[in-house]
């Protein structure tokens, strides 16, 4: 998909935004009864990613993963249904929004910071065993780079020469802790030296620049070994829905969400002689309509049957508890 047309690109960005907004309605309606993390403001990175990821590549993601799932080509309906805790969800409602698994598409997520990286290492090693040039993508937040799992994974991937592409969405915050207070280095890309791999920082609001950077990393990974892309962005909402988000300067936050919205930036760029504003409106409407329809449909689905709650602890069918619960 490397030559994605701008109209496809723009529509996908809007679709991603609408998808996350649909998720927000689930929190308000209590259809989603746990915490929810959205990536509103970070769409350009996911779109750029979608332009380089092959069906046979793997992708592991984190607690903030919906857009990566879309980028990987996970069908939207079971994705949204899982987030909405429905029986029709991609994990039957057992996983929920932080725990998404699609074996065929080599996609998974985890709610534990840093824990997705070693899993990606496994996928990368599997590609090596198969003699395939399929790469393993791991998309992580800036906070995860300070966890031990990042380090162990990068060192092993490099020493084994594995095709691992780590995309760091540096949204400058790990919950309330600013990036600058958590990182010894001014950029995360420069840490790549410690693993003898290429590292590059890019403006993650700029879909073209991000796509180019990811393209370079992927090309390296398919033949030579791991690479790191640090894409700068900003989280528009609280860390999770319900987070009061009082730790960020409210003035700066308003300024950035207003003047640095990747969708607004893209529209402005495209309106300037690349695509007809009427077409842009149509793309927006079509994306919105798709998500509206999807949401309406998913809302009709049922929750999983409570009687199935003890199934699947062991895929062999072994019963979970060997005692006799009262």
């Amino acid at each position: 998909m490397v030559n994605a047309s701008w109209s496809d690109r723009y529509r996908l960005m809007v679709l991603m935004r609408r998808f996350e907004e649909a998720c927000l309605t689930g929190v308000a309606s209590k259809a989603v009864h746990g915490e929810l993390h959205t990536a509103i403001g970070q769409e350009a990175i996911a779109v750029a990613l979608s332009e380089h990821i092959r069906a046979d590549d793997s992708l592991t993601s984190t607690h903030r993963s919906h857009l990566h799932a879309i980028a990987k080509g996970i069908p939207l309906r079971p994705l949204l249904a899982e987030i909405f805790e429905k029986k029709t969800g991609m994990c039957g409602g057992f996983g929920g929004h932080m725990h998404l698994f699609d074996r065929e598409r080599r996609f998974s997520t985890t709610g534990i910071v840093g824990a997705s990286l070693p899993v990606a290492l496994g996928h990368a090693y599997a590609s090596k065993l198969r003699g395939s040039d399929a790469v393993a993508f791991a998309v992580v937040g800036d906070g995860s780079v300070n966890s031990g799992g990042f380090h162990e994974t990068m060192n092993m991937a490099s020493v084994l020469g594995l095709g691992l592409v780590v995309i760091i969405e540096n949204n400058e915050w790990a919950i309330s802790v600013p990036f600058s207070a958590a990182s010894a280095t001014a950029t995360l890309a420069e840490r790549a030296v410690a693993y003898a791999v290429p590292g590059e920082r890019v403006d993650g609001l700029d879909v073209q620049a991000t796509s180019d950077a990811i393209g370079r990393a992927v090309a390296h990974a398919r033949t030579d070994g791991p690479a790191i892309v640090e894409a700068m962005c900003y989280r528009f909402r609280g860390h999770y829905e319900g987070d009061l988000d009082l730790y960020r300067d409210q003035g700066e936050k308003s300024l950035r969400t207003e003047t640095k919205d990747p969708l607004v930036l893209a529209r402005a760029f495209l309106s300037d002689g690349i695509l007809d504003p009427v077409l842009l409106d149509e793309l927006e409407q079509s994306a919105s309509a798709e998500i509206d329809e999807l949401l309406a449909s998913v809302l009709l689905d049922e929750q999983p049957d409570p009687a199935s709650a003890r199934d699947h602890v062991f895929t062999s069918g072994l019963a979970p508890f060997e005692g006799i619960p009262s």
């Binding site: 996983g95 534990i112 910071v113 824990a115 966890s147 790990a174 802790v177 730790y247 709650a309």
Partner: protein, 339 residues
């Protein structure tokens, strides 16, 4: 010390914990609070709110997401005479740093032949609030299995403040497990332990409390399940079963006196445990009572809790796995029928 009873304050449990910490930090400058989001934000549930302002960024330290590093840091600090309180945001994350907890914090007192103590509090939140398998565990059974750790889990505002104070004062390491479903509950939501004095006080670690006296069946439980058990007991009372509800408060050590005295009277024991039932609290409690009172002392034993299942995401499934007032009532009725 005398505790002045003042007009009850409607603070929530997080505030009670933060107040307990603040008073201990005022009393002893060696007390530190270290963890993710504990300073500027004051904790994701607010249970360290106000401490940064009161004690500054050296004593209240926001960390990177580096649990292994800051848990081990507590070991060095404790050896150097400090009393660190480290926060592992959710107990589910303990797997990334358990090594320092059980091989260092828990064992150094012993490995040093009693020469080095480890006055460390591992403060963490357990219990479910709808966030599925990796964010809903309680895991006290895991910590309790490993030697060298005191393990406590309060159920109400009064105990939350007083047990945190006691944990900070303890020279033994303490795993202090808050319940995510309780932290934002206010004093007025509780029928027990609702009144929180402003002054410093402590609730001694290792003692259980009888939250509701009764004569027919002893329920031993703790943490988020206590209020469910009390609610269930009230309903059961209407149906002729008089349930005694014991809030264990401490898992290590267990307060055998309180439990055995109660079971000695009721001759029936039901353990209610939000943690995974297998290889945990319930087996230990039932076996320990038998060891102390003999096999003839009880007419009924039972246990009710998470049947060894990762907590599912969907509410419909979650309700089938995590004990609540309704499921506890059903367990009481089964016990009543079985006796």
């Amino acid at each position: 010390m005398t505790i002045t009873e003042i007009a009850p304050r409607n603070i929530n449990i997080s505030q009670a914990v933060a107040e307990g910490l603040r008073l201990e930090m005022e009393a002893d400058e060696k007390v530190l609070v270290i963890g993710e989001d504990v300073a500027t934000q004051g904790g994701v549930f607010g249970s360290t709110r106000g401490l940064l302002k009161a004690f500054g960024p050296q004593r209240v330290l926001d960390t990177p997401i580096s649990e292994m590093a800051f848990t081990g840091m507590a070991v060095g600090l404790a050896m150097d005479g400090y009393r660190p309180v480290i926060e592992i945001m959710f107990v589910d994350f303990i797997g990334v740093c358990l090594e320092q907890v059980y091989n260092a914090i828990a064992k150094i007192p012993y490995m040093s032949g009693g020469r080095v103590d480890m006055p460390v509090v591992i403060k963490t939140a357990g219990g479910n609030i709808g966030s599925a398998a990796q964010h809903s565990q309680t895991l006290w059974g895991l910590f309790a299995h490993l030697p060298g750790l005191r393990v406590v889990a309060p159920s109400n505002p009064y105990d939350s403040k007083g047990m945190m104070a006691a944990a900070v004062r303890s020279n033994d390491p303490v795993v202090f497990i808050e319940h995510k479903g309780l932290l934002l509950k206010r004093a007025s939501d509780f029928t027990f332990g609702a009144s929180v004095p402003k002054e410093a006080y402590d609730v001694p670690l290792g003692s259980a409390a009888i939250v509701r006296p009764g004569s027919d069946l002893t329920i031993a439980t703790l943490s988020g399940s206590v209020r469910h058990a009390v609610a269930a007991a009230e309903v059961a009372a209407g149906q002729g079963i008089d349930v005694e509800v014991i809030d264990l408060r401490s898992i290590v050590p267990l307060d055998w006196n309180t439990v055995c005295e109660s079971v000695g009277r009721t001759r029936s024991l039901l353990v209610v445990d939000e943690d995974y039932l297998g290889f945990g609290l319930s087996g230990e409690l039932i076996t320990g009572v038998i060891e102390r009172l003999g096999m003839g002392a009880m007419d009924y034993v039972g246990r009710h809790g998470n049947p060894g299942v990762p907590v599912p995401a969907a509410l419909s499934l979650e309700q089938a796995i995590v004990p609540d007032a309704e499921s506890i009532l059903a367990a009481i009725m089964r016990a009543g029928a079985a006796r």
